[in-house]
């Protein structure tokens, strides 16, 4: 298990775990953005199998893609399993939650994805469930206002419930 090497985090002045060290850094390319990854868990590094191919034709010619920070914390203090997703969209902010085991915020103004992933989320669940969400949210934060509407108006998946 990749999380076994990560010590539980205790800081009485940081009850929200804002300052969990993220010593592992990487940069990689998606079609819509250059991702700058900061994390405390190697298992969040993309592999060639999971990172999507970059279709050069999809980029605007002569324009480098924007950068986007992914700060992903392995939250070893959280042992719950993934719950059903719940998403709130408020202007330039999306918060995607699957209970305490997965909380992702996407801030378009700051081009940031900030995430806490619980200890019980294994590599398979990360790749099948969370990584696609990170890709979608990256599109939200890096594309124009049209993308925001598109995200909100996208056809919900079968069974999805939306108030909009």
């Amino acid at each position: 298990m990749p999380t076994q090497d990560i010590a539980a985090y205790r800081d009485p002045l940081d009850l929200l775990h804002r300052f969990v060290p993220t010593p592992l850094n990487a940069s990689f390319q998606l079609d819509c953005a250059t991702i700058i990854l900061q994390t405390n868990d190697l298992s969040f590094f993309p592999s060639t199998e999971t990172a999507p191919e970059v279709p050069a034709s999809s980029r605007v010619q002569n324009q480098p893609p924007p950068s986007c920070l992914w700060k992903i914390i392995r939250d070893v203090n959280v042992s719950q399993d993934l719950a059903e997703p719940s998403t709130i969209i408020s202007d330039d902010l999306i918060v995607y939650s699957m209970g305490p085991a997965c909380i992702i915020a996407a801030d378009r103004t700051r081009r940031e994805l900030l995430a806490f992933i619980g200890a019980s989320v294994d590599a398979r669940a990360y790749q099948l469930t969370i990584l696609p969400t990170l890709y979608r949210l990256t599109e939200f934060v890096t594309r124009s206002a049209v993308a925001k509407v598109a995200y909100a108006d996208r056809p919900p998946a079968a069974g999805d419930h939306c108030n909009a």
Partner: protein, 338 residues
């Protein structure tokens, strides 16, 4: 099934302006029950100011409800954002940069006045307050004739039990755990309250939150033995009571800081008072304060300015090996002379 909530003011037609601990909370919601639950804090129409934050609450009747929000609420934060999940589906996002709180809750939560007034509003002010010049201070506060007594100390020092004992000796309880300090001139203006001398310009606010007493409080307040302590957000086991239930006096919501005491328990009998320097006051509150992210430098600076102003208060270290009742008697007597 994914729950997708597009939350903006167009889908939140109901409005209320709440004045809470010196903060202006501009509430927007789609639920009259939420407005009703928070009606005690409703002050009609309040203009926006540097002390305003938005509170956008969307109530989804199809959301499932967590049966015990105190043990199933989970907080995390990164950069300018703080998240709270309640159970599996109810979610809040506190955006400290945009001064906005957004949440989706169930219909059951929406109508739970105790949830909003005793718990969620204090939490919200605790998280958002620093960004709008309402500084949470880990101290109790009592009032006598408009003069405030702030009671600080490390966790477990006995602040709450001494607060209750003082409230039974003629003081009015403002808060037993967290007090919210505002400063005239406010953080956003950069005005220095220190130039005013003393604690001039500071106001201490309480939120009428429940009093929290640790299980050993039964030694001092025998009537508690008929109650069962409950688990709190921080995992601590404690009795939860409305302040009036245990103090038998009306609570106040505001006072002007006049005395500042740092409570220390000792094994030795007696109760003595030693003055505390401004530097020690500053160090106590700065080193004990929640760490704030680097992306909010103005917030951190505003908190420091308020602590600087507080450091001008006359302050004493109280070392007591006595019961809360005897310590309260000594403190009350000391206050009469100072």
């Amino acid at each position: 099934m994914t729950k997708l909530h597009l939350i903006n003011r167009a889908v939140l037609p109901l409005r209320a302006d709440l004045l809470v601990a010196g903060a202006h909370c501009a509430l927007a919601t789609n639920s009259q029950q939420v407005v009703n639950a928070l009606s005690n804090w409703n002050f009609g129409s309040v203009p926006r100011s540097d002390r305003t934050f938005d509170l956008d609450i969307f109530v989804d009747a199809e959301l499932s409800h967590s049966t015990d929000f105190k043990t199933q609420t989970h907080f995390r934060g990164l950069h300018h954002l703080v998240f709270a999940t309640i159970g599996s589906h109810e979610v809040f996002a506190f955006d400290l940069a945009r001064r906005r709180v957004t949440g989706a809750v169930s219909a059951v939560t929406a109508q739970d006045a105790d949830f909003w007034i005793s718990h969620w509003l204090p939490i919200t002010i605790g998280v958002m307050g620093t960004t709008i010049g309402v500084i949470p201070l880990h101290s109790a506060c009592l009032d006598r004739d408009g003069r405030g007594l702030l009671l600080a100390g490390v966790s477990g020092a006995g602040k709450s039990t001494l607060s209750v004992a003082l409230a039974r000796r003629g003081f009015s309880l403002v808060s037993d755990d967290w007090t919210y300090i505002t400063r005239e001139g406010d953080a956003s203006t950069g005005a220095s309250a220190a130039t005013k001398g003393g604690s001039a310009g500071l106001t201490a606010h309480g939120l009428s939150a429940p009093v929290k007493l640790l299980p050993d409080a039964t030694n001092h307040f025998p009537e508690l033995s008929a109650r069962t302590p409950k688990m709190w957000f921080n995992g601590e086991l404690a009795f939860e009571l409305r302040a009036e239930e245990i103090t038998h006096t009306p609570v106040k919501t505001v006072s002007q800081p006049h005395w500042l005491f740092f409570l220390e328990r000792t094994a030795a009998p007696g109760c003595d008072f030693h003055s505390v320097s401004a530097a020690d006051i500053r160090e106590f509150f700065e080193t004990g304060a929640e760490r704030l992210p680097a992306c909010l430098p103005a917030t951190t600076a505003a908190r420091s300015r308020t602590i600087d102003a507080l450091a001008n208060c006359r302050a004493w270290r109280v070392r007591s090996g006595e019961t809360p009742s005897a310590t309260a008697q000594a403190v009350a007597h000391f206050c009469e002379k100072n």
